[in-house]
């Protein structure tokens, strides 16, 4: 059985799970409604209690929307961050926190870090199978855009070669990320530091000109200005990585004697296996640490997975409470039309018909709330994605996935089964006192 299941494509597995989750409600509906046509009465009752009905539907929609929105958003966040780290196969830095280095190098979050020297950098750059070994230099900004020093090879790799305009040729030229509000030909002076604490006059003599614009990457690098790493060193009054007689050189190789240091080196190798060899080679006590940002993210997801489970549990509990409130509300509402229910019995309606009317009333509210909740969840996830994207520059999309559909199907089935309870309770009410009330 498991072999058959495992042989199914993922899409089919999702469809089968969806159908299994929906099956109880379909079977229940079929059994309860078989042979009856209660809809005119259900519509009449819905209309009579339209205010309460709208309130119940809204409550259910918010509850379901919250669950769907959170599920979709969490997945979107994971995919977005994973995509942002996609270009960063291996990062080598001084020993410390992998998360701190990853946040600085992949997500451009400013942080103080120890530096690797020129000897180490050269060892990395000259290691077998290394295609790109890009030193990074942080610390400056222009407005909201961080100014990052790196190599032309890495800038080109980051944009997959798609650069409007041209690559920098001198240390006074720069490339703008796709979201940077500077046009080709614009000049700017980088400030030292970031945000409100940035010192705009610290690099007063530096005047950089934009020569090209990087294609969108969907990462925080879209809001960055990339400059030759030599530029960052020079504006800070440091050696620029090259001996004085080659002071105009831009890009590697660098002279270890004139290498001011780099907090991180992004490495791309020719082959996947080589990444593992490099990680092993450059994981050294008190010298260097090498890590895959993707693996660090996976560890983070694992930790966040527990939080996700707690959040899911909270969502589930919230929904159970809302469902309980709605079912209780249904029972209270049904007390209001108990005379009509008693009338149906007096006219000879089978108990199962009365049961079908009350259950259908609850089912209509729950289904309407669930469908509206689906829309609400998609909308909420979309809004949240935009907000998070705007704040982190990580492109986050949270389209509807099977997890949300499974969640919705499960919610529908469980609540439709639970709404049997008020229907049973209504049925147990005596007819004559209701007729006389």
């Amino acid at each position: 059985m498991m072999a058959v299941w495992n042989a199914l494509p993922a899409l089919w597995q999702d469809i089968v799970v969806m159908l299994l989750l929906l099956a109880p409600s379909v079977v229940l509906g079929g059994v309860v409604l078989r042979g009856f046509a209660p809809w005119p009465l259900v519509r009449a009752i819905l209309w009579r209690f339209r205010g309460a009905s709208v309130l119940f539907v809204a409550l259910i929609a918010i509850s379901v929307g919250m669950g769907i929105g959170l599920l979709a958003q969490e997945r979107g966040l994971r995919q977005g961050t994973a995509q942002a780290a996609d270009k960063f196969d291996l990062v080598i830095a001084a020993p410390g926190s992998e998360i701190t280095v990853m946040m600085a190098s992949v997500f451009l979050q400013p942080s103080d870090m120890a530096l690797l020297d020129g000897v180490t950098y050269n060892e990395i750059a000259n290691a077998p199978n290394v295609a790109v070994a890009a030193p990074l230099a942080f610390g400056d900004s222009y407005g909201a855009a961080p100014v990052i020093g790196t190599t032309a090879a890495f800038a080109s790799y980051l944009a997959e070669g798609h650069i409007t305009g041209r690559m920098w040729a001198t240390s006074s030229e720069a490339l703008a990320g796709t979201l940077v509000p500077l046009d080709i030909g614009d000049s700017f002076t980088p400030a030292h530091g970031h945000g409100d604490g940035a010192d705009a006059g610290a690099h007063g003599g530096a005047q950089l000109t934009i020569t090209g614009r990087l294609a969108p990457t969907g990462t925080p690098w879209d809001r960055a200005i990339l400059v030759p790493v030599e530029t960052v060193w020079e504006v800070h009054g440091l050696a620029n990585g090259h001996a004085p007689e080659r002071g105009a050189q831009i890009g590697p190789p660098f002279d270890p004697a004139y290498f001011p240091g780099t907090p991180a080196v992004v490495v791309r190798s020719d082959a996947l296996w080589a990444n593992y060899a490099l990680r092993s080679d450059f994981t050294r006590d008190r010298e260097t640490m090498a890590f895959f940002p993707g693996a660090v993210l996976a560890q983070l997801y694992q930790v966040l997975g527990n939080i996700r489970e707690i959040m899911s549990l909270l969502v589930l509990v919230t929904q159970m409470l809302v469902t309980a409130a709605v079912l209780l509300g249904l029972f209270i509402l049904s007390r209001l039309f108990r005379r009509q229910i008693a009338l149906l019995r007096a006219l000879g309606a089978p108990a199962r018909f009365v049961f079908a009317v009350v259950w259908s009333f609850g089912a209509a509210l729950l289904l309407a709330g669930a469908v509206l909740g689906l829309g609400t969840g998609i909308g909420a996830a979309s809004v949240l994605s935009r907000v998070v994207s705007a704040r982190t520059d990580i492109v986050i999309t949270a389209p509807l996935g099977w997890a949300e559909l499974h969640f919705l199907a499960g919610f529908i089935s469980v609540t439709l089964i639970l709404s049997l309870v008020p229907a049973v309770m209504v049925l147990r009410q005596p007819v004559v006192p209701s007729l006389r009330s």
């Binding site: 042979g35 009449a44 309606a349």
Partner: protein, 232 residues
């Protein structure tokens, strides 16, 4: 012809065991119009509900050969569905539905094949009761008399041979009540329906073939009003 009614040893008690109604014996022939009068709380409505099998009771209430009290809850409902129509003082219509939909309410829980016939009969009943052309109107726009006519059309949609009426004119003004009495009596006589009507309305009682008086849960009087109509 509908079933005749035969009651033997009928006794209804409240949950504390107090006797609410006791009818040792009573026979009503098919097609008769029977009025039930008496002071409030005497047990008139209880009698009506016992005849419909809606209360727990001892004894026998036989409609034809069928003792409704011997049936289980669902079989009693099925029996009412086929045999007994009921109308009430405050009509108990679904205000959100049209007159036609109210009149054909029982079509919703009858088998699919019977639904078209029920709807046609409901429309026909509305016409007979002077409500032709009003079927599509929502009953909220109806007067009290019109609403009770819709309730009668609903009660008779399944061609039930018995109509039990609980204070059918109590919510109507005099003129409307008189018109309803005329229409109701004409309707049941034309269709041969047995009518048992609980009422305080002397004009309705006067149109009955026979009048039972209920006092303290017992039948204290069984008379025939002296009317030409009743003698027909």
């Amino acid at each position: 012809m509908g079933p005749s009614l035969s009651i033997a040893g009928l006794e209804v008690r409240d949950p504390r065991g107090r006797v609410l109604l006791s009818v040792p014996a009573l026979d009503v022939p098919s097609g008769a119009l029977v009025g039930v009068e008496g002071p409030s709380g005497a047990g008139k409505s209880t009698l009506l509900f016992a005849l419909a099998g809606l209360v727990a009771a001892r004894g026998h209430v036989r409609w034809g050969a069928q003792d409704i009290l011997a049936l289980g809850s669902e079989r009693r409902a099925a029996f009412r569905r086929e045999t007994i129509g009921m109308i009430f003082q405050d009509f108990l219509l679904f205000e959100e539905l049209s007159a036609a939909d109210n009149a054909a309410l029982s079509a919703l829980f009858h088998p699919r094949k019977a639904r078209a016939g029920l709807r046609a009969r409901a429309r026909e009943n509305l016409t007979r009761l002077g409500l032709s052309g009003t079927g599509a109107r929502n009953v909220t726009s109806f007067s009290g008399g019109e609403r009770q006519r819709v309730a009668i059309a609903r009660a008779m949609a399944s061609n039930a041979p018995v109509l039990l009426a609980d204070e059918p004119t109590a919510s109507l003004d005099r003129a409307a009540a008189d018109r309803l009495i005329d229409d109701l009596v004409t309707f049941v006589r034309r269709t041969g329906t047995t009518l048992i009507a609980v009422s305080h309305d002397p004009r309705l009682i006067a149109r009955m073939d026979r009048v039972l008086r209920i006092t303290d849960g017992t039948v204290s009087g069984d008379t025939t009003p002296n009317t030409a109509e009743g003698a027909q």
